[in-house]
């Protein structure tokens, strides 16, 4: 099987799902003739035509709202946010309308909102955001954020088939940097299941998205320099969280470091820490630690961005603290 990039894996999922189900359609800004700002949807228009690959006005509220209405009627819309930062413009529609539709009105809303997310790319404050935490906090939405090409494809296929709204965050730093080998056939990865990215016995790093790769890099270094055996748990899905996988890794290593690129206060690390306290406190040999971005809007200049965001050296340092505890 040929290697494909994280970005190509997402594109493959879109092609396969549009082929499989005529109700699946894509909508967003510049996704048709241009193929999307990052070219994720390239080729879709040529194959499926303007009926199913819709270039929209710059109206995120309308795009998401229209997707919801179509989803009620049995369609399977896949929305692209040109940058995930602009999902803020559809926050009302997503949190007030879409998230509550099933509960308050017994209306299905099977739709996906996907888009390029995350920093480390010198994108400045409005092209680098990680807004997942606000949506994880909203009952009724599912949130997925893959780190590998295989998961990007398999989870997007699962998201499109899911009966509820799934927000699908794609890390733009990984788009063309990460490659994977796709399993043959209909490759679907279940939503809600974490993945052990690296087995270890001394401590666990729980993370997701781009920082999975920083954690793996740190784990290598810690093994070489400190003889530490580090387990890395890639959450893949942030809502619902895979409690079983979290508890299993706590029980195995008894020391947990949570790493995310999102800012610290109100970030998902806090939620995971609370769950570990509730579910597996007796198994801990050390307090749960966090390595996250600083609570600062993401600046543009490289020195500033690098300072604000978590780096591999931070993960190494924090892991050593944890191991020494």
């Amino acid at each position: 099987m040929a290697e494909v990039t994280y970005l190509e894996a997402i594109r493959e999922a879109l092609f396969e799902e549009m082929e499989r189900d005529a109700n699946v359609f894509c909508l967003g800004e510049d996704i048709g003739a241009y193929g999307g700002a990052f070219k994720v949807t390239e080729g879709l228009l040529a194959k499926y035509g303007e009926q199913r690959v819709i270039d929209t006005p710059i109206s995120e509220t309308a795009i998401v709202g229209a997707a919801a209405g179509a989803a009620h009627m049995g369609m399977r819309p896949v929305v692209e946010m040109q940058f995930i930062d602009f999902i803020a413009n559809a926050y009302d529609m997503l949190t007030n309308y879409v998230a509550t539709a099933r509960y308050r009105a017994f209306l299905p809303c099977p739709m996906v909102v996907r888009g390029p997310s995350g920093g480390y790319v010198r994108g400045g404050p409005f092209h680098s955001q990680n807004p997942e935490a606000g949506f994880v906090h909203t009952p009724g939405l599912k949130v997925v954020y893959p780190s590998t090409a295989e998961d990007a494809k398999g989870l997007l296929k699962a998201a499109i088939r899911d009966e509820d709204c799934v927000l699908f965050f794609e890390h733009k730093y990984l788009y063309r940097r990460i490659k994977g080998t796709m399993p043959a056939g209909d490759h679907v990865v279940p939503i809600g299941k974490a993945r052990v990215a690296r087995e270890g016995s001394d401590l666990s790093i729980i993370t997701y998205a781009a920082t999975v790769w920083k954690a793996l890099e740190a784990a290598e270094q810690l093994e070489k320099e400190d003889g530490l055996s580090v387990e890395v748990l890639d959450l893949r899905t942030l809502a619902p969280l895979d409690d079983d996988a979290i508890v299993a890794t706590v029980k195995k290593t008894n020391r947990v470091l949570i790493v995310h690129e999102d800012t610290r206060t109100g970030g998902i690390a806090g939620e995971i820490t609370a769950r570990i306290n509730e579910m597996a406190f007796e198994w801990l040999d050390a307090p749960v630690l966090r390595v996250t971005a600083h609570d600062i809007p993401l600046p543009y200049a490289p020195a500033l961005e690098d300072f604000v965001l978590p780096q591999t050296a931070d993960v190494v340092l924090a892991a050593r603290r944890l191991a020494d505890y």
Binding site: I58, D85, G124, P299, D306, R321
Partner: protein, 399 residues
């Protein structure tokens, strides 16, 4: 072109040379020769500065993307030239010319693009996302945009609302693209400003495209300016590549706002000759379209022709302006290139008024407080306490 609010009725005849907001041409007719040359200077400066930015971009000295206004210089320069210093303008990505007219300097722009530590945003924000607003007379009067399109329309409604509330003789001008008119923020903002009778001019730069999307996929309205009727405000369309026309139409709308006439909508017809940003190869543009605009409707070429044929300006006068512009851009480039990148710790300053600086997270400085067994008894674990040296550095830089 008559204003829509007048329902196409011909404006009353006025003696020649008298300014009247409802008489097209009456503003441009009052421009002096010196002012007309100044307009040329700003347009040339815009183009030359952008060409310099392209060169720096190719040398990877521009950190992020590069956005061009090639072929749109007249709409930005002419419209902003209609403002006074005390007025406030909020630009879009293609309004470098308006920024320069309002007093932003080439060196500021270059430093912004290059993410320098002494750039107006100290490396925090990109390109022309910077501003200088406050008291009239003390500030140059431009408010930096943010990326989410349309957001500056409501913000400028508020800026101009404050002028009205305080009885200040100031007006505001906000630019949006054809694409940005599709946002909720645009609609809410212009409607709010209209109802509140804010002294605001809203300029739609219709350059044919929003990224790859042609205007035909943005609206079914024949003209964006027709939307003015829906807000109950006057609207006027003008040739955006004719610098005198863009000045004229804006000057009259500004005068209307100053006299308590509230919001006006202006649509400037122009064309985006470069891609959305430098990376965009414009594969979606019909063959020949860009070349046609470049050959037949370049705003600088057009203006040079007019200056030399109708206004008796000598080619040598224009060459002297060109030379001055090149020298200014050269000097600014040297200064920008020589200036330093920001210090990492500056990232910690200014999120709030109080405290003025945040602390670095504990894992950034030897893990102080980061829970070794021996340290468990000490207070405040998990938060790094900066040593005296770091603390003074941070607060100094914030001062």
């Amino acid at each position: 072109m008559a204003t829509r609010a007048k329902g196409g009725r011909a404006a009353p005849a006025r003696p020649a040379g008298t300014f009247d907001p409802e008489t097209p041409g009456s503003a441009a007719a009052l421009l002096t020769r010196e002012q007309k040359l100044e307009l040329y200077y700003w347009m040339r400066l815009t183009r030359t500065l952008e060409e310099r930015l392209v060169a720096l971009y190719r040398q990877t000295k521009v950190v992020g993307g590069l956005f061009r206004s090639l072929g749109q210089e007249a709409d930005a320069v002419g419209s902003c030239y209609a403002l006074e210093q005390r007025d406030v303008m909020s630009p879009l990505i293609r309004n470098l010319g308006a920024m320069l007219v309002k007093g932003a300097t080439p060196v500021e722009v270059l430093k912004q693009y290059m993410a320098k530590g002494d750039s107006p945003t100290r490396g925090r924000e990109l390109n022309i996302h910077f501003g200088d607003i406050g008291e009239a007379g003390e500030t140059r009067g431009f408010l930096g945009q943010i990326s989410p399109l349309g957001d500056m329309v409501p913000v400028m409604a508020g800026v101009t609302l404050s002028f009205r509330m305080r009885g200040e003789d100031r007006v505001g001008l906000v630019y949006v693209g054809d694409g940005a008119t599709s946002t909720g923020a645009f609609h809410e903002g212009i409607n709010f400003a209209a109802v509140q009778r804010c002294p605001l001019v809203v300029v739609i730069e219709n350059n044919g495209y929003a990224y790859s999307t042609p205007t035909s996929r943005q609206t079914l309205a024949k003209r964006f300016v027709d939307k003015a009727a829906g807000y109950g405000i006057p609207g006027e369309q003008a040739d955006g590549n004719d610098v005198l026309a863009t000045y004229d139409v804006t000057k009259r709308a500004v005068a209307r706002a100053r006299r308590g006439g509230g919001v006006s909508l202006i649509e400037l017809m122009t064309y985006r000759r470069k891609g959305h940003a430098e990376h965009d190869n414009q594969s979606y543009v019909p063959a020949g379209e860009i070349e046609r605009w470049a050959a037949e409707n370049d705003p600088l070429d057009r203006y040079v022709r007019r200056l030399t044929t109708e206004m008796a300006v000598e080619a040598t006068e224009l060459a002297a302006i060109d030379a001055r512009v090149t020298q200014e851009v050269d000097e600014a480039t040297d200064v920008a290139e020589a200036s330093a990148f920001p210090e990492a710790l500056d990232a910690l300053t200014g999120v709030y008024a109080e405290p003025p600086a945040a602390s670095p997270l504990w894992f950034r400085e030897g893990g102080r407080g980061g829970v070794t067994a021996s340290e468990r008894a000490t207070d405040g674990w998990g938060v790094y306490k900066p040593d005296a040296k770091t603390e003074s550095r941070v607060s100094q830089e914030d001062a």
